[in-house]
């Protein structure tokens, strides 16, 4: 019997982060805009109530919304990244078995708990995250990830749950009823086309799928859907983030063969990860809006300086272009790397993925001319086909040693205080950006003495 697993998910994460440090935003309709202030990527409950849809381009937001007090915020990935890191740290204090799933969701294994104690632990986690970070989370728990996801959805939608829902598989009456109420299209990993075909077979609810014939499902669909079926039945089948569909982020990371403090080597590893990640993006037809780089030392090595750090970097527009991603990574390495520290592992996480075809072209592409985009697409297609033909890594992004020399021209500290200033105007339009409240000393909140 595997330990129960919980999905801890921050409610309206970006807008909630904004509110922690700017209490004036409490209770007002609030939206966060994509890179370059293109379109809506996050909404507070009040903004949802005004009928503002996800992905609405900025210039399509009706005037009436502003009359109702709508507030705009540019995306502040540095803040969201830090708050996400804090939530993770709080969870890790309670259990070591925490696996980040996206910037605002984590899987948590709750070993050795059952029944009421399990539910109490979920509430404890929720209260602790709220207290320590100011962010509200919903916790869904079950014997499998698919059920945990479903429970989480329930917890989020129904205030009566107090943000926590535990499912025990269809054996228990209340869990069974919840599965019966959940549409099969709302089950984790089931896309529109599959759910349409399932409905033709009269499989409409999650319960219908859980109790369907697994062999039939595998034959007509796939082993992936069979696995979902078994997971809905309370069987733990999905161990790692599913590789085949529904991915919200792409992680590429690896330990170094040998610990190294060498900047060039670390840079080369990050660039390789960035390239590999971009390739995966293109394969699954997604674009990334932000990228996170991480560095860590070997925590088991004794007598050496320990350090781990990560940084979220907003990309100028959602992209799958290797060069654009590599450029962002290259620009920010020095912000997290510490001179002389020997690192053990590096990683690149591509996040906030959007569907390549579903995106709002006009809004996103405002600052990027068509020529440039077509050239990039052609180049990437060529890159991928060369690598397919001549083997992985036949063609890679070259590491320009000049970059390595340039580091001497400005110190880390100067760079850090300059990062906004040194970005050319076209880099990122963020007219409504809040302070980086938690990561820049000169931008921390001001409190009034009275």
């Amino acid at each position: 019997m595997k330990a129960p697993i919980a999905l801890v998910d921050c409610n309206n994460f970006y807008t909630s982060c904004e509110r922690v440090f700017d209490p004036q935003l409490q209770g007002v309709p609030l939206v966060v805009l994509s890179n370059n202030d293109g379109c809506v990527i996050a909404r507070s409950e009040e903004a949802k109530a005004l009928g503002i849809a996800m992905g609405t381009p900025l210039h399509h937001i009706p005037r009436s919304a502003y009359r109702q007090g709508l507030v705009l915020k540019s995306s502040n990935y540095e803040l969201y990244g830090d708050m996400s890191r804090r939530v993770l740290a709080v969870l890790r204090e309670s259990t070591p078995l925490v696996e980040p799933y996206s910037i605002d969701e984590s899987w948590v294994e709750l070993a050795g708990l059952g029944g009421e104690r399990l539910e109490a632990e979920c509430h404890r986690l929720r209260d602790k995250v709220k207290r320590w970070t100011g962010l509200q989370v919903s916790v869904g728990c079950g014997p499998s990830r698919t059920l945990a996801k479903l429970a989480n959805r329930h917890a989020k939608r129904h205030p009566a749950t107090n943000g926590v829902s535990v499912i025990n598989g269809p054996v228990r009456a209340d869990s069974r009823a919840l599965l019966a109420r959940t549409l099969v299209s709302d089950v984790w990993g089931i896309g529109g086309r599959v759910s349409a075909r399932l409905q033709e077979m009269d499989i409409r609810s999650a319960l219908d799928l859980a109790t369907a014939d697994p062999t039939l499902i595998r034959r007509r669909f796939s082993v992936v859907l069979e696995r979902t079926l078994r997971e809905l039945g309370g069987l733990h089948c999905i161990d790692m983030i599913d590789d085949s569909e529904g991915k919200k982020m792409i992680m590429t990371s690896r330990s170094f063969g040998k610990m190294t403090a060498d900047r060039d080597q670390i840079m080369a590893s990050l660039m390789a990860h960035a390239s590999r990640g971009a390739e995966k993006l293109r394969r699954q037809g997604s674009l990334a809006s932000a990228v996170m780089i991480t560095l860590r030392t070997n925590k088991f090595a004794e007598g050496v300086a320990q350090h781990r750090d990560s940084k979220v970097i907003a990309l100028p527009w959602p992209t799958d272009d290797t060069f654009e991603i590599v450029r962002a990574v290259r620009r920010e390495l020095d912000a997290i790397r510490q001179e002389g520290v020997r690192y053990h592992k590096s990683g690149v996480l591509l996040m906030d993925l959007v569907d390549r075809h579903g995106r709002q072209l006009d809004a996103f592409q405002a600052k990027r001319d068509d020529n440039q985009r077509q050239r990039s697409e052609k180049l990437m297609t060529t890159l991928d086909s060369l690598n397919r033909r001549f083997g992985k890594d036949a063609v890679t992004v070259g590491y320009c040693q000049r970059i390595g020399l340039r580091r001497n021209t400005s110190t880390d500290k100067e760079r850090r205080s300059n990062t906004r200033g040194e970005e050319p105007d076209w880099w990122l339009r963020s007219r409504y950006c809040s302070n980086r409240w938690t990561t820049r000393l000169e931008e921390i909140p001001k409190v009034t003495l009275e």
């Binding site: 209490p23 004036q24 204090e93 350090h307 009034t448 003495l449």
Partner: protein, 150 residues
């Protein structure tokens, strides 16, 4: 009399901000103050560790304004850096950050007759019962950092 026998080489490692305590304790006798902690001296002082026991719950804020300067207002001055920990349960006597009317303010939490109230150092402001609508405690100020020279 306090005299420093020689400058302590404070090789500050940005990773942990380690000050080499061993160096100080070795000289403590000469400098004239006893060292009762001689036996359990660790190698270093880590200010991050001392001031920030809960990094995930700790936030820095700057104080502005002028009304907590009296002694009972913890002597906070405009421009001071406050270390705010959100994790502890606020209790009587804590300096806290509260959100009042959408603004973050510094107050002192005092409980009288079982009723927690937010006090200002400035007598012009009346204490506000914590139960008042639209008041939230944001965190507890655990330390103050004032730099005399940068």
């Amino acid at each position: 009399m306090l005299h420093v026998s020689r400058p302590v080489p404070a090789s500050i490692d940005p990773l942990e901000c380690l000050l080499p305590l061993a160096e100080i304790s070795a000289r403590a006798g000469i400098a004239g103050f006893p060292s009762p902690a001689q036996d359990y001296v660790s190698d270093t002082i880590d200010l991050n560790h001392t001031l920030i026991p809960h990094p995930a719950a700790t936030y820095l804020v700057t104080a502005t304004g002028d009304s907590m300067q009296t002694a009972d207002g913890a002597g906070i001055q405009s421009g001071d850096l406050l270390v705010v920990d959100r994790s502890p349960e606020p209790r009587h006597g804590d300096i806290v950050i509260a959100v009042i009317d959408g603004e973050m303010v510094v107050k002192e939490l005092r409980t009288q007759h079982g009723c927690p109230r937010l006090h200002s150092a400035n007598p012009a402001y009346a204490p506000i019962p914590l139960a008042t609508q639209d008041i939230r405690l944001w965190g507890v100020v655990t330390s103050l950092i004032r730099r005399f020279r940068r």
